[in-house]
Amino acid sequence: MARAYSTVEQFAVGFDRQREWIERRGLLLLTAFYLGGVGGGLFLASLIIGWKAGIPIALGIVALGKGPAHLLYLGRPLRFWRAFRRPHSSWISRGIYFMLLFILLGTLYYVFYENTALAALSGFFAFALVIYTGFALAASPGIPFWSNPLVPIIFAGAAITSGAALAEAAHAINTETVITHVERLETMGLVMSTGMVVLIFTYLLGNYMSTIAAKESVAYLAWGSMSFVFWVGVVLLGIVIPLAIIVPAYVGEVARGWLAVAGISELCGSYVLRYSLLKAGIYPPVI
């Protein structure tokens, strides 16, 4: 069946939640966004902490995870090549270029590991990869909750936090992991997680005080039917548990196993964060 909304929503005046990018096959798109964020974020984290083995893992997550998930989402996957045509106006086209250039330059950097020019270039495209999804959402004038300059920053921030969390978990689980600047790992985790708390709070508060549809989105997440998912997934798994472990680890010592828990918990929370943001995309009534 051709579907966009339920029958009631089609004929009533009122708020309307976006479904195309979150329900049914839309979950594949969410997964693609997530894997792009984790892969790009891990690449950036690996550059910062000096974890060479993190680079192929990051490239693999993007090439074997994000790319196929995008393709499977499309209604006509065999026409994917047509999406190369409009980088001057469409964030989806730009995203494809970012992804391919990231994979190409990232692979070259892995081969010529000490090359600083390649490090800078591949780092640039990793950053472009993690931030463009936010711009893609922000370019949708129909959804005030997304049409907000903080959205790209939240997507980029969540991605880098996840990248650091994955490195943290890998380091905690495998004692053989060779990381040049291991001291940067905990600092990065702490700074990014704290920054995300401020960012998410500012974003939600700002939306709550803006248009009626943006307010509706915040209400839907904070005390509406998505509140359990939001508070448990985003707040508890993504923020409270990781910070409850990272802060003591930063000021003293905690068992490695707990650091792995913090990393895995953050990775789950980051998925739910994206899920929540997509799910809360609400259109205002047309009149």
């Binding site: 069946m1 051709a2 579907r3 966009a4 909304y5 029958t7 089609q10 004929f11 009533a12 005046v13 309307d16 976006q18 195309e20 990018w21 989402y73 499309l74 209604g75 006509r76 996957p77 026409r79 994917f80 047509r82 999406a83 045509r85 409009r86 106006s89 469409s90 964030w91 989806i92 086209s93 494809i96 893609a136 370019a139 949708s140 004038p141 129909g142 959804i143 995309g281 259109y283 205002p284 047309v286 009149i287």
Partner: protein, 200 residues
């Protein structure tokens, strides 16, 4: 030249004829209505009243759906009509997300209303190239405009609430109606500059 529509809500009776005419004319798949009539109850008993507002693609002058489309499948003609090329669309649905008016439809499966399709449905399956995995929407009945006819919703409107014409021509009915009645566009603050105006 910029085709546009004026809908006089003072005359609209909420008869849904435009919706039915559009469906019959365009053979839209099950569940898809290029033109919809939204209903809203206003006021409180004993003064409650139904309020109807027909909506469809606004063929915006600054269409959000065109700029986000990664393939160029959605484009704007010189006469302002926004169309989707079914052979170029890859079904990313970015246009559905970007359009503030919820007037685009993704065809997951092209289904008819009846298990044994009616002759009308059988004809429609051949007559319209609605491909599965692509997005479809109103094109102001461009096949009728090419024959010098009005869009089906306009020709059918039982209350003569719909007017179709050239917004760029100051002498056209639509331009005069807009100028003399303070007509407004839906969600004008979105910056899409719709080509459908409403008189309240």
């Amino acid at each position: 030249m910029r085709y546009g529509l004026v809908i006089d809500l003072r005359k609209c009776a909420g008869c849904y004829s435009c919706m039915a005419a559009c469906k019959a004319e365009n053979f839209t798949p099950r569940g898809v209505f290029f033109t919809r009539v939204l209903a809203e109850e206003k006021g409180k008993y004993p003064n409650a009243r139904w309020h109807f507002i027909p909506i469809q693609c606004n063929h915006c002058d600054n269409p959000a759906c065109v700029s986000v489309c990664p393939t160029g499948a959605t484009s704007q003609r010189d006469d302002g009509i926004v169309t989707v090329d079914p052979n170029k669309c890859l079904g990313c649905r970015y246009c559905i997300i970007a359009c503030p008016y919820r007037v685009r439809f993704y065809v997951d499966k092209r289904e008819t209303y009846y298990q044994n399709p009616t002759p009308h449905e059988v004809y429609g399956l051949k007559a319209r190239d609605y491909q599965e995995g692509t997005v479809i929407k109103c094109d102001f009945c461009s096949h009728r405009i090419e024959q010098g006819l009005e869009p089906a919703c306009v020709a059918t409107c039982t209350s003569h609430a719909r007017y179709f014409g050239d917004l760029d021509d100051p002498e056209s009915d639509v331009s005069r109606l807009i100028a003399s009645n303070g007509a407004y566009q839906l969600l004008a603050e979105k910056g899409t500059d719709p080509s459908i105006y409403y008189i309240h």
